[in-house]
């Protein structure tokens, strides 16, 4: 069955990015979050992103209208009964994800595939909260979703071949490239990136180089689009801490132990781009100002 209407749960950075990609590919999206303020902020932010794309000639006004017309911003999970496929992109908290999937398991049609965007939690464990573990899969997109092509496709213990094939095909249909990954905390990208970001923070604390220069080193030396500290700012230091902590807990290896400065900055509320301050400062449009 063709996938024409997709549910996205969670209107955060990943959920909104995914929503934009889907709508740009002509797919109708039901974007659900639990708070009116969050969903409205997501809508405004998407309009802002599309306007910026128009300024860069990447879109026309009429294309913007078409994209926005494809998206239903809502608090009502019941609307997911019409979805042909559902993505979940809420916080990396096992119980929250399990309860959401358990709830929508009763709303969505039984043949609909559920995909979680988790990067550290067990697909098998989340799937067990539903009556459809064979139609449950992990699709881990890469931030920023609009620009990065990579999707890690993770099979849980009971994910069927059919579900895997449909998901893989769908990933290609929305212009992304999938790689197959077996279930292990952090998969490939998070497992490689988090220790890198974490080590960059240790370099700052040790005074080996300035934050500015650490980022320049990786940008100019290895063609990174952002340096590791700006990347961490853009992901949100709170999310980086949660994920790194998750890896540390799962593997018990000190190489994943979060840098002290990371914890400190999260406690101080300097969690990066979304609040305007992390290792660097940002304006309302998310551009670096120093």
């Amino acid at each position: 069955m063709p996938i024409r209407k997709v549910g996205v749960i969670g209107a955060g950075v990943m959920g909104l990015g995914l929503t934009q990609v889907l709508a740009e590919h002509g797919i109708e999206v039901i974007l659900v979050d639990k708070e009116e303020a969050i969903i409205e902020r997501a809508r405004q932010h998407l309009i802002h992103l599309l306007d910026k794309e128009i300024e860069k000639w990447g879109l026309t006004e009429s294309e913007k209208k078409v994209i926005l017309s494809k998206i239903r911003f809502t608090l009502d999970k019941q609307l997911l009964r019409d979805a042909d496929f559902v993505f979940e992109t809420v916080d990396e908290i096992l119980e929250v994800k399990k309860s959401i999937f358990n709830e929508i398991d009763h709303i969505c049609r039984p043949n609909v595939i559920f995909a979680t965007n988790t990067s550290t939690l067990s697909i098998t464990e989340i799937a067990a909260a539903t009556n459809r573990p064979e139609r449950f899969i992990g699709l881990n997109f890469t931030h920023p979703v609009v620009k990065r092509q990579l999707v890690q496709i993770i099979r849980g213990l009971k994910t069927s071949d059919d579900t895997y094939e449909i998901a893989k095909h769908f990933v290609v249909e929305i212009g992304k490239k999938g790689i197959q990954v077996y279930e292990a905390p952090g998969y490939v990208t998070v497992r490689l990136m988090m220790p890198l970001l974490n080590e960059a923070m240790n370099l700052v604390v040790e005074g080996v180089a300035s934050a500015e220069d650490i980022d320049l080193a990786m940008k100019d030396g290895f063609d990174f689009p952002y340096g590791p500290l700006e990347m961490a700012d853009r992901m949100g230091l709170d999310a980086v801490l949660r994920v790194t902590d998750g890896l540390y807990r799962e593997y018990g290896d000190v190489k994943y132990r979060p840098a002290l400065i990371l914890r400190k900055m999260v406690r101080a509320g300097h969690i990066g781009e979304k609040v305007g301050e992390g290792f660097f400062k940002y304006n309302d449009a998310g551009e670096r100002i120093e």
């Binding site: 063709p2 024409r4 002509g26 794309e53 860069k56 000639w57 990447g58 026309t60 620009k147």
Partner: protein, 399 residues
């Protein structure tokens, strides 16, 4: 013989049904918003009221089924049985180097259409979907593919090659293909008939000026050069497309404005041309505003100037000129543009009759005076009829 002509886009399709005995259009119509719950089928049986149906049409096969249903509908229909359709002609945008003529569709033809998806990523997949949808609904009926690029396959190598490393031609088939071929062919044949001369004796420049625009140099009935290139972006300034520019501008602007490939491609295709210069993409708006809006005036002048440069170049290409044809939306309807061009081509001995130039009509007509050294004609294009004629010809020759 009844021939159904289909032009399939990614989310829409247009059709015409011809009775080839007298080439009469029995019905025409379109389906818009394919893939949606509220797709619109507009169907017009010739001489009767238009019927509009809003319904769920999720794919092209369903769209074709709905069109076939309405063709035999008790109230709006024009046929008693769908088997009265004897053949289907399909517009296919890109035929690559495989097709210099229209062709009966078989497995190999479909593979070839697929083989050039890269060169027409928006059009060819939709065109093939249309063919397969008709095959599913009418398995016994022959399908004929008519390519936009086929007419230009007669261009000599010196005209179609780009002066870049030749390996790119070998590896990726980077070369000039040209577009609007069905239209250029139709109007040039029609012009020769009108002038009552064998086309083999004529040097013709055909100006297909619509929202997209291209010019073809047609020597002895064969396309020897055309303004569009590997893609429809090259050549004339268009409604929202840039046409020719210095290729070094692209990396320069990408660097200065920090643009991605997608953004710069979209800029050149959708934010440039008349629209980029003036904010208006439609020639009618340009003409309405050019007396008091200097940007509109500049856009018009640039547009006219760039057409004129191509006319001059193609006269040099053919070493002469007998007739200039104007066709398509702007070409058929903008007397202001035609007049501006003619006023600047006096060295050719061109003279047009202002009154005739201003007269609107759906007929082929001459706008040059009897003293003019070059014939200037308006020939309304009819790509659908050309597709129907090709379909008839191929079906008969395959019998």
């Amino acid at each position: 013989m009844n021939i159904f002509v289909l032009n399939c886009g990614s989310s829409s399709l247009k059709y015409q049904l011809f009775n080839m005995k007298d080439e009469a259009v029995i019905a025409s119509g379109k389906v818009e918003r394919i893939g949606m719950d509220n797709a619109i089928l507009s169907h017009e049986p010739t001489g009767r009221d238009e019927a509009k149906v809003v319904t769920t049409i999720l794919d092209h096969t369903t769209a074709i089924e709905k069109v076939f249903d309405i063709l035999v509908d008790a109230k709006h229909g024009v046929l008693t049985n769908i088997n009265e359709i004897d053949a289907v002609g399909h517009r296919v945008v890109h035929g690559g180097e495989f097709f210099a003529d229209s062709v009966l569709v078989d497995k190999q033809v479909k593979a070839a259409i697929k083989g050039v998806y890269d060169l027409a990523p928006l059009h060819n997949p939709a065109n093939l979907v249309g063919i397969e949808a008709v095959e599913a609904v009418l398995p016994e009926v022959p399908n004929i593919a008519v390519f936009d690029t086929a007419f230009h396959q007669t261009m000599p190598q010196k005209a179609f090659m780009y002066p870049i490393p030749k390996i790119l031609y070998k590896r990726h088939k980077v070369r000039k293909y040209g577009f609007h071929g069905t239209s250029h062919r139709y109007v040039s044949v029609k012009a020769a008939q009108f002038l009552n001369k064998p086309i083999e004796e004529l040097k013709i420049i055909s100006c297909h000026i619509g929202n997209g625009a291209s010019i073809a140099a047609i020597d002895k009935g064969k396309s020897v050069d055309t303004s569009m290139g590997m893609t429809p972006l090259e050549g004339l300034m268009m409604g929202t497309r840039s046409g020719d520019l210095d290729p070094a501008i692209i990396p320069f602007v990408m660097g200065k404005e920090n643009l991605t490939l997608n953004e710069v491609t979209s800029m050149l295709n959708k934010h440039s041309g008349l629209f980029g210069v003036s904010g208006y993409s439609d020639m009618r708006d340009i003409e309405d505003n050019m007396d008091n809006d200097s940007r509109a005036k500049l856009a018009f002048d640039m547009y006219e100037y760039r057409i004129r440069k191509y006319i001059g170049a193609f006269i040099a290409v053919m070493d002469g000129i007998d007739a200039i044809i104007f066709t398509a939306g702007v070409g058929e309807n903008s007397d202001t543009l035609r007049k501006a061009l003619a006023d600047h081509l006096t060295y050719l001995g061109i003279e047009i009759d202002d009154k005739v130039n201003r007269t609107r009509s759906k007929e082929v007509r001459r706008i040059s005076t009897s003293d003019s050294k070059v014939e200037v004609l308006i020939v309304p294009t009819n790509e659908e009829l050309m597709i129907a004629r090709d379909t008839l010809r191929i079906v008969q020759s395959n019998k």
